[in-house]
């Protein structure tokens, strides 16, 4: 076998410096992730904007045409959209303060030096371990008007059976209650980490000044964990805007659209009516709402 020996002498070949090699490898190493991020994140985001200005139905993919702001104009005249927007805002405005206060309360409880604090932490956190689909199915049984255990407990206290998910007045509130139960443990953990960092001396100093429990909470605890509180408020708000699984599994958006949300409507238009253009317009409005409200929240919390 002939062995090729026409290798360029080492001295003539320009040796690649270590720094250059490093830079080249940097590009190579980051490329897989960057290609994936571009294909499955950046490209879809750009496409969402583009499609939102188009008349584009998946059932007729060749009939794509640019229609300017038509989708957006249609959106703000669509009463179902306005209802969905109202429902999403209602859910967010109620769930965020309730869930964050419950989480903070639980964190304060299990931060106390009592033997059962560890058990409490595990119990309060346990619903977080359960996926939202599981929780939603489970609570549909618990909320059942005839055989649900919650109505059974209410009967025990002399309250008559409530329709919960079957009533347009109660459905959203029932979902709120369940959502708080499911997720409060998550925020509790974040608050707990914040509370651990509050220096003990601050409490001692406050006690010396004769502060009571409420004053200690207001003047020591709250200011010391303000950055944690801000973060928790923002992530809870973003999470709340994304409400979808609960109405999808429990009420299918009803009764009479009372639990229809923005994401629900986005899903419905995209995958049931196959209306890509209209659904993309909802996606863009949803994106802007989430972005703007977390931005406003950040500004407000800074003060």
């Amino acid at each position: 076998m002939e062995v090729k020996t026409t290798v360029v002498p080492v001295s003539q070949k320009k040796p690649m410096t270590y720094e250059k090699q490093k830079r080249l490898l940097g590009v190579v190493f980051s490329l897989p992730a960057l290609i994936l991020l571009f294909t499955f994140l950046i490209l879809p985001v750009i496409l969402a904007f583009v499609y939102s200005f188009m008349n584009y139905n998946m059932l007729n993919p060749d009939g794509k045409v640019f229609t300017g702001l038509d989708n957006y104009i249609r959106l703000f005249q669509d009463s179902i959209f306005l209802t969905s927007l109202k429902n999403t805002l209602y859910f967010t405005i109620l769930v965020v303060p309730i869930q964050c206060s419950v989480a903070l309360g639980l964190a304060l409880l299990v931060n106390k030096k009592v033997k059962v604090a560890g058990i409490g932490r595990v119990f309060f956190f346990s619903p977080v371990v359960t996926s939202m689909v599981v929780v939603a199915i489970l609570w549909t049984f618990l909320y059942n008007v005839d055989s649900g255990i919650i109505n059974n407990a209410l009967n025990f206290f002399g309250i008559e059976n409530q329709p919960f998910l079957l009533s347009a007045d109660q459905a959203m509130n029932s979902i709120i209650f369940m959502s708080v139960w499911q997720a409060a443990g998550f925020q509790m953990m974040i608050f707990l980490a914040g509370l651990k960092d509050v220096p003990e001396e601050l409490y001692e100093a406050a006690e010396m000044d004769g502060a009571n429990v409420w004053q200690k909470f207001k003047h020591v605890t709250l200011p010391s964990i303000s950055h944690v509180t801000g973060f928790v408020l923002i992530i809870t708000t973003i999470q709340a805007f994304r409400l979808f699984i609960q109405p999808f599994v429990m009420t299918n958006g009803g009764p009479s659209d009372s639990t229809k949300t923005l994401v629900f409507m986005l899903y419905e238009n995209g995958f049931q009516f196959r209306d890509v253009g209209y659904s993309s317009a909802i996606a863009v409005v949803f994106f802007v709402i989430v972005l703007v409200s977390s931005f406003i929240l950040k500004k407000v919390l800074k003060q």
Binding site: R23, P32, I119, G185, F271
Partner: protein
């Protein structure tokens, strides 16, 4: 009353409050697990506290959903375990390598790329759902396994997590390796990775839990039973009104078990993951 007894009373009171509230938080899950090991006829007969004390224990519900031809819940479990594990494994590799390159092997625009990645983290998944579906569809992946894996390998959040860790990685260790003539790849693979176990564990657990619980995406790309995951599987079981309640409860319990196991065995990293995402703000 002396100071000590007063303190003690306070502690007893606090403990009672924690235990009562704790019971309220865990009661629905207890009810789910207990209902899953009860005979069907007893589930809605036992009410009040007796609902939590089964008079008769049976595993028929589990047998029925796991091994019956009709439900075959094991199939959904397997699909979830397969797709989630592959997403985690590929993700750890790709994201850590990318973060390492961006932090340690600086190249033109690497800082700018990092900024873009961090900014991408704020995009809610739902707002790109339809275009992502169209991209995946044009790759011919609808109802194929890659649809559940490939789009979720690269993660802006995980790259950010790795970046935070690698920035604090001791320079001396890397320099020693380089003086020994190790290439950047060898330095990464033999020095950085073995010494970064906590961040790998945190990223793996967070990815596992969020992928395992994901519902919306599998709902739209897995319309065929072939690749359906547990979350979609239980939704179909639930919507199919002919399935017995006890069997649904068994399915719900099975769906939850993997995450419970992770929580029990990796509690430290799990909680660290939650709180580390919290400190950055």
């Amino acid at each position: 009353m002396s100071y000590q007894t007063k303190e003690k009373m306070k502690k007893v009171f606090l403990s009672i409050v924690i235990l009562v509230l704790g019971f309220l938080f865990i009661a629905p899950l207890l009810w789910m697990i207990i209902a899953s090991i009860k005979p069907e006829t007893m589930i809605f007969k036992d009410m009040g506290f007796s609902a939590f004390f089964p008079k008769e224990v049976t595993f028929d519900n589990y047998m029925a959903i796991l091994f019956s031809e009709r439900v075959n819940f094991f199939h959904y479990m397997w699909n979830s375990i397969l797709t989630v594990s592959l997403t985690v494994l590929f993700g750890l590799f790709v994201n850590s390598l990318c973060a390492y390159a961006l932090v340690k092997l600086k190249f033109p625009f690497s800082n700018f790329i990092l900024l873009v990645i961090i900014a991408l983290y704020v995009v809610p998944f739902e707002s790109m759902l339809i275009p992502l579906y169209i991209v995946v569809n044009s790759l011919g992946w609808i109802n194929e396994y890659p649809a559940l894996i490939v789009p979720f390998i690269a993660s802006a959040f995980n790259i950010f997590l790795f970046r935070q860790f690698f920035m604090g990685f001791p320079k001396e260790l890397e320099e020693a390796a380089m003086l020994d003539g190790a290439s950047p790849w060898q330095t990464f693979w033999r020095v950085v990775v073995p010494n970064s176990k906590p961040v790998f564990a945190t990223a793996a657990i967070l990815t596992f839990v969020s992928q395992w619980s994901d519902f919306m995406w599998p709902l739209i790309v897995a319309t065929d039973k072939k690749i359906q995951t547990v979350q979609v599987g239980i939704q179909y079981l639930f919507a199919d009104r002919t399935i017995e309640y006890g069997q649904i409860m068994a399915a719900l319990t099975l769906t939850t078990i993997p995450v419970i196991l992770i929580f029990i065995f990796f509690q430290r990293y799990y909680v660290q993951g939650i709180t580390s995402s919290g400190v950055k703000g």
